[in-house]
Amino acid sequence: MPDGALPVLDVRDLKTVFKTRGGEVHAVNDVSFDLRPGELLGVVGESGSGKSVTMMSLLGLLPSPPADVRGGTVTFDGKDLLQLDPEGLRSVRGGKIGFVFQDPMTSLNPVFTVGMQIAEPLRKHMGLSKAQAAVRAKELLELVGIPDADQRLKDYPHQFSGGMRQRVMIAIALACDPKVLIADEPTTALDVTIQAQILELMKELRDKLGMAVIWITHDLGVIAGIADRVMVMYGGQVVEHAPVRELFGNPGHPYTKALLTTIPKITGAREKRLTIIEGQPPILAGAPKSCPFRDRCNVAFDRCAVENPRRYDVGAGHDVACFHAEGT
């Protein structure tokens, strides 16, 4: 650790498999990362790269069957979350680790008031009475910037706009002063101006409350704006991991490089077509024995087809899972 702080969350060799009729799908393969207090870790990758599944595996939120968390350790608060009993896990969920999901339109229960939904974790994890929970719920709504909080507690989710609902989701996640907040594409379903507001809010809240944040997205622009460190995932694996400036300034993995070229520029010639990465994402059947990106990679060579590269350290807290980075 460069700054000597112990990580709040330490994930080692996490493996998640989905059992389907067509065989096993290896959605998360030996994913390791850590999260330091107060840090914002960005997780990027395309759809199906295992970003969400990784985070849901941490807290046992995947339905089992079909999901099966096969191995690894998740150290949080001195305990391995994967070994906890269901009750122990429930006390962590919503208490010390908060979750914000992608679609605020469907993530709130339509038949209960917003106040009741915010008060629920407060009463369970902090043992507050109904009246105390209502006071705290009001504070939380004010914290996430919802005006007229007293009245709005009695409203139902359908009476809120998309951005307001996402603020409510954030209020629920923050309810019990979590040490870690996992935000799973929290701005994807929102339009750009609302997205900017939510990003601002998250930055502000992190500074105010000092929690660590894991921010999952497929939008590199968002990551560049808020993350301290970035983890790039592809095919259920971490392919590159670096501090944010290092990643954007000196990308090591061919996938990251390709991703960065896909971002359209405002300056420069307009007639150019949008850049894309050719090919399809890999089908994750069976444990990987080769580099998952080799079919779409323009610098792949023989070794990529027979061996899956491990993450090579290239200095400055930067590691790359590519044979081209070996020994640099």
């Binding site: 939120l61 969920r93 209960f112």
Partner: protein, 335 residues
Amino acid sequence: MLTYTIRRLLLSIPTLLFIAFVIFMLLELAPGDPMAQMPLTIPPEVKEKMRLALGLGEPWWVRFPLWLKQFFIVEPQYWIDQTFGTNFADGAQRIISFQSRSPVFDTIAERMPQTLWVVGMSYVVGVLIALPIGIISAYRQYSVFDNVGTFVSMIGFSVPPFFSGVVLIVIFSVSLGWLPSIYDTTHQVVDWDTFVFQLRQMIMPVMVLALQTTAQVSRYMRASMLDNLGQDYVRTARAKGMTESVVVMKHVLRNSMIPVITVIALGIPSIFGGAIITEQIFKVNGLGQLLIIALQGSDIPMVMTITFLLAVLIVMMNLIADILYGILDPRIRYD
């Protein structure tokens, strides 16, 4: 919600008048003669006089308004007179059965308790069994419990009560002799023993009708629960650290009940229809049996009144279902 209810109640008046007219005209156009069951020794001219005495000599545009007046004005007057000892009716002509020559509503009032006991009880029992089955079947989808539940509902759906009723009688009354095959209406519940007897004679008709209700409602409940169990808000509730019982019995159930309540409310009239056959099989002299006998005897006032009461029940249950929907689902506001 109140203005909505009042508006719907007002709107149901023309609906019911139209239904009454259609029933009346269907009976008018149907073949059949109320005199057909009179002894053949009665000369035709006497029969003709009897027919005129029943009011059948008048055209339909006289008889239909008369029935409306009797149903909506005279009968309520008699009811008020009986209850409060007043004299609004002032000896006005009530709706009289062709067969028994007694007021139709008196006969219906006599038959109502049996039907309510058997039909009402079977519906309550059916729903109470169906809801937990639906919930567990959905939560443990494709488990042994779910598969058995699916199989039993399939039987409940596909086997008609006139078959399952007879099968039950053959097994429990004829072969085993445990339960009476005939429902004794004169039986009075006064102490524990007579209560047990009442239960014993109710079991089979209630079970036959409840099987149908259970089959339907449990399927709806299961489907509705499955719909909701996959929703994002369920994941949110789990991510908040809620226990499985809170997630399922509070978050999911409250949402799942919305369509099921509608089905339950709308099913109440149809269970009365199903009771017509079941009452025949178990010799329960309830409304269903009364309707069958009235139909066979071309007892037009009786058939007309019972059918119309069923229509009123259907219209009212529709209204109640809509109101319940609005109460349960905050997204639906009628005003």
